[in-house]
């Protein structure tokens, strides 16, 4: 009895279309984020996260419209990340029906942006997305730093210290992605996840590397994450959200069934 650990499918959206293909066998339009969000909603997803990778300014308007359409039909929380740089960007997404926004690079460029956003809209809707990479050498105590630009650009900022700072600035949640694990299917960086989760009093979503249901469970039990985010294992129909929840429940993890 208590708060459930959340399972969050993540969609990459470019100009209003889902990319990195979702392969539901019986879906009419696998590129339509609304169709896919509805499907995940019916499958028991606890939230849905959209990563907007649209580059152009015009494309951003499409994203706003997409969020509007999803929010009209999907009655679970919706987070939109990617390209959130100004208070105006946040207002647009929240007005369109997003419940939370993910702030990544803009926080690194200007940490006070998170504070301004949290003061204006409330901590409950400000998710700080952290992309971290291990920088310690073999045999050294583990250390991770923040990277921007999809993991290409080092910042020299320590990941644990950064998480604490973002929390102090008013973040309501942290979306933590291991750049070492992202796309590998080798599982979360559990030491990183645990280091961050233990360092901050706010919820942490583990991301990057999920290839099996055991990885999801490990994120919670070993990584102490409050929520686990995954893309490909759900998109390609390897597992359903329901199977993931049953697996976790069998291992004593509280989930919403």
């Amino acid at each position: 009895m208590g708060l459930a650990k959340r399972i969050i499918p993540c969609l990459d959206v470019d100009n209003g279309r889902v990319v990195k293909g979702v392969q539901f066998v019986d879906i009419r339009d696998a590129g339509d984020p609304v169709e896919i969000a509805k499907r995940y909603n019916e499958a028991g997803a606890d939230e849905i996260t959209f990563l907007d990778i649209t580059a152009s300014h015009e494309g951003r308007d499409t994203t706003v419209h997409t969020v509007e359409r999803i929010a009209s039909e999907v009655f679970i929380p919706l987070t939109v990340g990617g390209g959130i740089r100004t208070v105006e960007d946040i207002r647009n997404m929240l007005n369109a029906g997003a419940d939370k926004v993910g702030i990544n690079s803009a926080a690194v460029h200007n940490p006070d942006f998170v504070k301004a956003a949290s003061d204006r809209f409330g901590a409950q809707c400000i998710v700080v997305a952290i992309d971290a990479k291990q920088v310690s050498a073999e045999g050294e105590p583990k250390r991770w730093e923040i990277f921007t630009h999809g993991g290409r650009k080092p910042t020299g900022i320590d990941a644990v210290e950064w998480a604490k700072k973002m929390c102090a600035n008013g973040a309501g949640e942290i979306l933590l992605t291991s750049m070492d694990r992202d796309g590998t299917k080798n599982g979360f960086d559990l030491e990183l996840t645990r280091a961050i989760s233990d360092a901050v009093p706010i919820p942490v979503i583990a991301s990057g590397g999920v290839g099996s249901l055991q990885h999801l469970a490990d994120g919670v039990t070993e990584g102490r994450a409050d929520a686990v985010l995954a893309a490909s294992i759900f998109h390609f129909g390897e597992y359903t959200v329901g199977e993931a929840k049953e697996f976790m429940a069998e291992r004593g993890i509280e989930v919403r069934l």
Binding site: L3, P77, Q124, P203
Partner: protein
């Protein structure tokens, strides 16, 4: 004549989801409005709220919505408070350095704390964010919702589980009031508009409720 629901808009947060969810469960006319006349003319009233209570109460008072809300409740029409909209109905909140609220329900809104722990001593994250179980106390608004169903919560402050007006209970380190009810007034700490089937059912029940226990 078509029934109407007024969703009171005092500039705090997005009401799109509440309006969409209502549209999903009924054919009533839905007004997202800051016009007191529209609120007064509606058959039912929803009082939402997100963000810091100090900012919310500031706007509520500036717009005279505290008096408006009292009138609506006194009129006997069904009224539903959601999240900070519930907390604003209490006497006082510890948030924002201490905030006087509308006082339609007696009691204090408290902070979970920076060092919140389960009874077993496990650290608990704040905000309380996600799907938690609600122990229902018999009330028409819980109709057709299984006992102990999960609803989506996101909050750092909570209403104490005291008094006979608690209509739903939740546990997160402490037991707190997930719902309050008196006559035609009902309030929930969670977000029914984000709580999938159970949440939509609660809204379905609200738009058909006659305001009586």
């Amino acid at each position: 004549m078509t029934e109407s629901v007024a969703v009171i808009d005092y500039g705090m947060g997005n009401l799109h989801s509440v309006a969409s969810a209502l549209g999903k469960v009924c054919n009533h006319k839905i007004h997202v409005t800051s016009d007191p006349a529209v609120v007064a003319a509606a058959d039912r009233v929803i009082f939402p709220g997100v963000g810091a209570i100090g900012d919310c109460m500031g706007e509520i008072r500036r717009l005279g919505f505290d008096a408006l809300l009292r009138e609506q409740v006194a009129s006997g029409k069904p009224v539903l408070g959601i999240c900070v909209g519930m907390q604003a109905l209490l006497t006082h909140s510890q948030e924002s350095g201490g905030t006087e609220c509308i006082d339609l329900f007696p009691g204090e809104v408290k902070f979970f704390g920076h060092d919140h722990k389960s009874p077993e001593g496990e650290p608990l994250k704040v905000p309380h964010m996600g799907w938690n179980q609600v122990e229902q106390v018999d009330h028409p608004l819980w109709a057709d919702i299984p006992q102990n169903s999960r609803f989506y919560f996101v909050h750092s402050f909570y209403v104490e589980d005291t008094g006979s007006e608690v209509t739903g209970r939740c546990e997160y380190g402490v037991r707190f009031a997930a719902a309050l009810g008196r006559n035609n007034l009902f309030a929930v700490q969670f977000h029914p508009e984000k709580s999938h089937t159970a949440g939509l059912q609660l809204l379905h029940n609200f738009v058909r409720w006659n305001g009586q226990r």
